[in-house]
């Protein structure tokens, strides 16, 4: 923290624009939050005008609404449906193409070389999600080269949350709301009156190098204190919390808990939760060919454990019931992920609660599953 406070500076919107410009000049593709289709989306942005200034959100189980904010803040909203999984691990990636001719096969696996990504406005829970995805994609015996390239080149501008969403529970997951590591620069929006100003701290040489080029001034002690008060206030206004029980152990011994039946009655198996989850990584590998059968493409797509096909072996699905599929998702996310990847699969972002069409609340279900476990 001392290093961060040493290089704490204050910039205004002009400085934020200079940050975008500086990153773009360095060849980064700048992605950040913007309003699209009534939600906050992570899109290409070139100007601070595109940021969701003056917008905030209301989130509750099964509900997400953007509304004009009472203030003029730029980052006064909680996470929307998208996560940084989308740019770093696209939903649709071609693994290889093959030309089949005369009994011979020519394989072509040109890597996709994109411009390096600058991610603007990454929240603490999302930094935790990135660290989890790193373990999944890079921690095993066969690290993913494209993910590694995107991750290694990414420049991350984090934001300390000034607004806790109605479904946020990062405090109980120990993943937020304060950003602590895994970023280059971190912003805290100061005050809610007048022109927005941001306290900036840096955590890397790359971050410091960019910060030096911005119009800025050293942060005063009261501004540093104000920034700390922002995250403290957010931490104190979490929408919900995971129960204070050992839910990892409880879930592992509760595959026959009656609560799964109640859940199955509500769950539509739509897979929304897996699509919006910033850590869900399951994929399918699909082969397609042209009409001649001579040009073949293998594509990796996001998949969902809620689809019947997901666990298909010859003869049928291993998990034909929604009960079994929902149980698989929660048990994996919270209880078996640690033994697979040495970390929880949940960061407490609350997306699965907001975007569940029937409003299933993960925290409420875990509490129920832990409460009256039958022997």
């Amino acid at each position: 923290m001392s290093r961060q406070t040493q290089c704490a500076h204050v910039i205004d919107l002009e400085g934020l624009q200079q940050l975008l410009d500086a990153l773009r000049e360095r060849g980064y593709r700048t992605l950040g939050p913007t309003v699209r289709d009534g939600a906050i989306a992570y899109e290409d942005i070139a100007s601070v005008e595109e940021l969701p200034r003056g917008w905030t959100d209301e989130q509750s189980p099964g509900a997400y609404r953007l509304r004009p904010s009472d203030t003029d803040t730029v980052f006064g909203f909680a996470v929307g449906p998208q996560s940084w999984k989308r740019p770093l691990f696209p939903s649709h990636q071609i693994l290889w193409r093959a030309g089949v001719a005369g009994g011979k096969v020519q394989l072509d696996s040109e890597p996709h070389i994109d411009a390096p990504l600058a991610l603007i406005g990454v929240r603490a829970c999302e930094l935790s999600a990135l660290a989890i995805q790193d373990r999944v994609w890079l921690g095993g015996a066969a690290p993913d080269a494209e993910y590694r390239a995107r991750r290694a080149d990414a420049f991350i501008v984090a934001v300390n949350c000034a607004h806790a969403g109605g479904n946020c529970f990062c405090v109980s997951m120990h993943t937020g709301p304060e950003v602590t590591s895994g970023y280059d620069l971190a912003l805290t929006e100061l005050g809610t009156e007048g022109e927005p100003t941001f306290l900036v701290t840096c955590a890397t040489e790359a971050g410091a190098a960019v910060l030096e080029t911005l119009t800025r001034r050293a942060a005063r002690d009261d501004e540093i204190a104000a920034a700390q008060a922002v995250v403290a206030h957010t931490a104190a206004s979490m929408g919900r919390a995971m129960p204070e029980t050992d839910w990892v152990s409880r879930l592992l011994v509760s595959p026959e808990h009656p609560r799964w039946n109640a859940l199955a009655d509500r769950c539509l198996a739509c897979g929304n939760c897996t699509m919006v989850c910033p850590t869900c990584f399951c994929t399918n590998l699909e082969d397609t060919s042209d009409l001649s059968g001579l040009q073949v493409t293998r594509t990796r797509r996001w998949d969902s454990c809620f689809s019947v096909d997901f666990a298909y072996v010859h003869g049928g699905s291993v998990r034909p019931s929604i009960r079994a599929r929902y149980r698989q998702w929660i048990t994996h996310k919270l209880a078996t992920w640690p033994q697979q990847f040495g970390t929880s699969g949940c960061v407490g972002c609350g997306r699965c609660i907001s975007w569940c069409p029937v409003g299933i609340d993960l925290t409420e279900e875990v509490a129920a599953l832990c409460a009256e476990t039958p022997d």
Binding site: V105, L107, A154, E256, R300, A311, V318
Partner: protein
């Protein structure tokens, strides 16, 4: 900011999802809908494999499926896979004629713990196509026959015409150092052997339960009942190993399809000790 230092950038990262192109050298029909493919590797050295591991086989334009090795680990250049046509990809694979190209990647997974077989009785129990992933283990055990105690192969299959590797089974049956029993669910004339489930053969097999290594491969329900019968006979659950099957797409532990409880079967299995499988196998639709 780049990922944490615990994930170093490797300069020679292989492309784990890119198949190698090989050709069918020979194809032999073993039983109705079951074919053994011997693959030709165009001089490219093939990585060694362990008995019980699998490859991902691609029928170009159709798809990819996990198939266990069924050949001899001592001859890794001779890639042998036994395939039952049960879906679009396996159907396409068994139709490949000599010279036809297919894709191979692997080997993947953890195989049979044969290093634990020294000085012990080894009991192999196969159900149906489950004989194929056990054959490499048997090759290896027989190649070092003097290192083991009694070796027994119990093999159950649906009917006499479904019996795989007949000539080899006949040859093994004449060896004095291997006990072989075959049973069928439904007998047809002129079958004069055992009729019934493979677990019924366990009572007649000679092995010392305290010093036996058991290797099981077959339908899940067959393995479950066999493992329970072996436990009842006094074999420790840690000494009973099952080769598990689930949907597999990537083979490298990142697609999520092959989860069984906390296991990623392609990475942590497919072979796992019954001590770890007993509880999850009792949960329906896990």
């Amino acid at each position: 900011m780049a990922p944490a230092a615990e994930f170093p950038v490797s300069q020679t990262a292989p492309e784990p999802l890119l198949p190698r192109v090989v050709c069918v050298h020979r194809r032999r029909r073993d039983a109705p809908r079951v074919w053994t493919l011997e693959l030709q590797t165009a001089g490219e050295p093939q990585p060694p494999f362990a008995a019980g591991q699998f490859n991902m086989l691609t029928a170009f334009g159709v798809g990819e499926v996990p198939i266990s090795f069924s050949g001899d680990p001592a001859a890794p250049q001779r890639l042998v896979h036994t395939v039952r046509a049960v879906g679009a990809v396996s159907e396409a694979l068994v139709r490949l004629e000599a010279g036809a190209p297919l894709g191979v990647r692997g080997p993947y997974g953890k195989g049979w713990p044969l290093e634990a077989a020294d000085g012990r009785d080894v009991l192999l129990v196969a159900g149906g196509l489950g004989l194929a992933p056990l054959r490499p283990a048997l090759y290896q055990l027989l190649a070092q026959r003097e290192r083991h105690g009694r070796i027994t192969l119990l093999y159950g299959t649906r009917s006499p015409r479904d019996i795989l590797f007949r000539r080899e089974l006949a040859a093994w049956g004449t060896r004095g150092d291997l006990a072989l029993e075959v049973t069928v669910d439904h007998a047809t004339t002129p079958w004069q052997g055992h009729v019934g489930v493979v677990t019924a053969l366990i009572a007649h097999a000679r092995f010392d339960p305290q010093r036996t290594l058991a290797l099981l491969c077959g339908p899940e329900i067959m393995m479950r009942f066999t493992a329970e019968a072996l436990c009842a006979a006094g074999v420790a659950p840690e000494a009973i190993h099952l080769s598990m099957e689930r949907s597999m797409k990537c083979g490298v532990g990142t697609c999520g399809h092959c989860q069984f409880g906390g296991f990623l079967l392609c990475r942590d299995g497919p072979v796992l000790p019954y001590a770890l499988l007993r509880a999850p196998l009792r949960v329906r639709e896990l």
